[in-house]
Amino acid sequence: MLALPDYREQSPEVAARFSKINERPVLLSVRELEKAFGTNGSRHVVFDHVSVDIRRREFVTIIGPSGCGKSTFIRIAAGLDEATSGEMLLDGKPITGPSPDRGMVFQGYTLFPWRTVKENVMFGLEMRGKDSGTADAEARQWLDMVGLSRVENSYPHELSGGMKQRVAIARALANEPRILIMDEPFGALDALTRCKMQSYLLQIWKKVNVTILFITHDLDEAVYLSDRILVLGVNPGGVREIIENPVPRPRSVDQFLSPEFLAVKHRLDELIHAPSAEQEEDKIPVIKLTEVGDEVE
């Protein structure tokens, strides 16, 4: 095992960046958020006491094992789900329902199959009452930015997974949202495409005035993309730790093996894969096979 630096150690540049971020106004404020299912008899608390402030132009990733409620968390942020108690404020105003100021990108693409690529991007613009000429011109600009101008008249089913997700990003950004919420957006992509899409997303984020709230269960993805990483746990559910990512920007794929990258990743691994009491109990019973000819270990 390599000797890794402390993941909390920040270079002066990174520390300066975080102090700059912390001076910015809070965009999304989460206060004592709780989500539970069922009634008092058989109440299942997904998470509680979740509090975090996401500042303007920050890239925050939520990571956690399955069942930790990370999807629920951002569905509440998107206004598609309701919290049991606590509140989320966007620019100081409580979130009550879905709204175009919170753009959303889903894992399943959710492009409208009956609309061409350009018409998909135009959807939000039309909903906001822009006339078709303006919507058309703006949609083209956004498609230009994600590099898909040449397929603007194709239908979604003609595109690859990575292209579909770029359209979905363009469609969400076309509304000029305050925050872009992404629910495991690259989860369905193959490893190579996923890697490209991550670098892509960082470039877009640099160019567009938007804050990003990102969900993943991929440790590399979390470390590569984010400023801060919010780790959720299960049993009991809630925030394990909020990590300030010491990997300096601009990010590149070369950093994947840098000491600070590995240090954060190692810490995430500890937090997420820490065996909880329950998991210890139900260990998978191992059936001893009588004739295992060739040992694998």
Binding site: A78, G79, L80, G97, P98, S99, P100, R102, G103, M104, F106, G108, T110, F112, P113, W114, R115, F123, G124, E126, M127, R128, Y155, P156, H157, R171, A172, N175, I181
Partner: protein
């Protein structure tokens, strides 16, 4: 050729085999019919008398049971007189394929026996008019109601339990009532088709709309769509291709109600034609008319499928294996000439 290739569990067949099987699906029943019609020793339970001989009761061109014929032959032989002669035939209600094929032309050319009776093409036209009116009227209310039921729980709970009950009431049961209310002409016939179609339509379309991916609706909401816009711009377009397929299936069901509808009040349309021809014992015309219904049904479905491709360019295939023309037009089908790949052509030209 291994059987495995033909009988792969839920495996697609190559286009050529699809074509072979599709043709066989028509050829086999017709072949069976031809075998029964043209092989004198298969079935043919009757004997047509060509020469009555000294038989007391047989006359020429009479069809008698084979057993009776044999008895008569024995009887005349025993009496020492000339036996009757004849050849084996099928009953008049099973005409041979070529007779029915001929009837396809002659049925249109034969003038009606009674003055004022419709020609065949008039009968067919009448039937198609009845269907179209019934289906249009039903759809006019059924489709919007189905969409509302599929979209809003409110309408679903308010309508569907009753509709579910009502659809079990057989449409023909309303025949007498329709005549009492609407008279004996076309109105009660249209009403029967409406009753037969409408309730299924609401339920089927309601179900189709309910199946719209909720993620699409959520995505639209986060893009700022709400209320009526959500229905008009997301729910309906997302369901429209499946609704279209539903409509094609429902139109097929409407045809089955047609025959019932046409005996209500004054008998009319193709049913009247079939009945009259059966009365005159022109069974070749009866078969021809029945097949015509099938041909009209299938070809209208193929036309609608082709029209669907024009309407919904984002759906390459509307309903898998639904009708002939669809797999004929699928890429790679033996029936379809692929246009040359333009990029490959350009590369070739450069080289």
């Amino acid at each position: 050729m291994a059987t495995r290739d033909w009988l792969g569990l839920k495996q697609d067949l190559p286009p050529r085999r699809n074509a072979v099987l599709t043709i066989l699906s028509f050829v086999l029943p017709f072949a069976l019919w031809a075998v029964v019609s043209y092989t004198p020793w298969i079935w043919h339970p009757l004997v047509r008398i060509t020469d009555s001989g000294e038989s007391e009761w047989m006359t020429e061109d009479m069809d008698v049971q084979r057993a009776d014929f044999a008895k008569e032959v024995e009887k005349t032989k025993a009496a020492g007189v000339a036996p009757p002669q004849g050849y084996r035939v099928n009953p008049v209600y099973l005409p041979a394929p070529h007779n029915v094929a001929k009837a396809f032309v002659t049925a249109f050319k034969t003038p009606p026996r009674l003055p004022g009776e419709p020609w065949l093409h008039e009968s067919l036209g009448h039937s198609i008019r009845t269907i179209v009116w019934g289906f249009l009227l039903s759809s006019l209310i059924g489709v919007p109601l189905g969409i509302l039921c599929g979209t809003y729980r409110f309408f679903s709970k308010l309508q569907e339990p009753f509709v579910e009950f009502f659809r079990y009431l057989p449409a023909p049961a309303f025949g007498a009532l329709c005549v009492a209310v609407l008279g004996i002409d076309d109105a009660p016939k249209v009403a029967i088709i409406v009753i037969g179609t409408f309730f299924q339509q609401v339920l089927v379309i309601g179900n189709t709309v309910r199946k719209v991916d909720p993620a699409l609706i959520e995505a639209a909401q986060t893009l700022g769509a709400r209320g009526w816009n959500l229905v008009r711009r997301v729910v309906i377009p997302a369901a429209i291709t499946d609704i279209y397929t539903d409509m094609r299936i429902l139109l097929g069901w409407a045809w089955t109600y047609l025959i019932v509808a046409e005996v209500v009040g004054t008998m009319s349309g193709i049913t009247y034609f079939i009945n009259q021809q059966a009365r005159y014992r022109n069974f070749d015309n009866v078969y021809a008319a029945i097949f015509m219904i099938g041909i009209i049904g299938l070809s209208s479905d193929i036309l609608l499928a082709a029209f669907g491709r024009v309407l919904f360019p984002w759906k390459r295939r509307l309903a898998r294996g639904k009708s002939l023309i669809e797999w004929m037009r699928e890429p790679g089908s033996a029936w379809r000439k692929e246009p040359p790949n333009p990029r490959a052509m350009a590369a070739l030209a450069k080289a």
